[in-house]
């Protein structure tokens, strides 16, 4: 069980959350000025790294907040977590 520190509720089991996915993907801010290729890149393409992965989780059984989480996909270790607007860095 991955323990995810919810910035609001504190550490909780990951089965209280719904996994959303890659948080490095930023939805095009001006859709009218977005090319089909950029939409394609946003919707379909993923870096999918082995190691630190910035991702969103939704605390669906808890406070219903979306969280940003930096997690190692090889070890499942959570390196940092925060609100969607936070810039996360792995602790050194």
């Amino acid at each position: 069980m991955i323990r995810i520190p919810c910035p609001h509720c504190g550490p909780r089991d990951h089965d209280e959350f719904s996994y959303v996915g890659d948080a490095t993907k930023v939805r095009p801010a001006d859709p009218a000025a977005t090319s089909p290729e950029d939409w394609h890149r946003y919707v379909y393409l993923r870096d999918n790294p082995r190691g630190a992965h910035l991702e969103y989780w939704h605390h669906i059984q808890g406070c219903r907040a979306y969280l940003k989480v930096l997690r190692d996909t090889a070890t499942h270790e959570v390196l940092a977590s925060g609100r969607p607007e936070d810039a996360l860095e792995a602790p050194r």
């Binding site: 909780r12 059984q61 808890g62 406070c63």
Partner: protein
């Protein structure tokens, strides 16, 4: 006011299954768990919107005499209880007859808050007794030990695969559990099965 006088009685989601009595294997000092339904409550959800949390909190404090609790906490004030249920979001509970929704609406909407009546959408059970923690632990992964979950702690979490609010009340072993109305019977069944080995009383 005339309408309120003639309102039909509220019907809880558990009316058809709630048969008072003692069940399961009682412990040495009687049932390990006693469960009561908290009926006829008003449960009003209060949302602060952008940058209004402080103003909303002030308005609530002024009108109801209760301080909105911090994340993960609950508080009592006067005849009301307030539970933090999400970022800038609280549930206020009080007796149905106090006009809670109207009072809140009047108080917080000018301050930038939103009010949503959820009184009928939640089933609220109060569990007490020496084996309450063991019973709840069969269905939730959060730590309910007094060291970790002190009085007036409240959590939004999962209980028997349902989303619930668990509100630790006064005393050593009294918890209120708020569940969605539609799942009330499922929760009731799960709680009763879990508590049966300790003995439980529906009161």
């Amino acid at each position: 006011m005339a309408e309120i006088m003639t309102l039909p009685p509220r019907r809880s989601a558990l009316d058809s299954v709630w048969v008072l009595g003692d069940y399961g294997i009682p412990g040495p000092s009687g049932p390990g768990v006693t469960i009561i339904r908290r009926l006829g409550l008003g449960a009003i959800q209060l949302d602060a919107r952008r940058d209004t949390a402080a103003a909303v909190a002030r308005a609530v404090s002024d009108s109801l005499g209760i301080a909105l609790p911090a994340p993960g906490r609950a508080a009592s004030g006067g005849e009301f209880r307030a539970i933090w249920i999400g970022p800038e979001r609280w549930m206020l509970l009080g007796s149905d007859s106090t006009g809670l929704e109207a009072r809140l609406r009047a108080a917080v909407e000018p301050a930038g808050g939103s009010v949503i009546d959820q009184s009928h959408g939640r089933a609220i059970l109060r569990l007490s007794g020496p084996r309450v923690r063991d019973t709840l632990a069969k269905g939730t992964g959060i730590d309910l030990h007094p060291r970790a979950f002190a009085e007036n702690t409240a959590a939004q979490t999962g209980l028997f695969h349902l989303s619930v609010t668990i509100d630790r009340r006064r005393g050593t072993g009294t918890f209120d559990v708020h569940a969605m109305r539609g799942f009330a019977q499922s929760l009731h069944e799960s709680l009763c099965e879990a508590a049966a080995e300790f003995g439980y009383r529906l009161a």
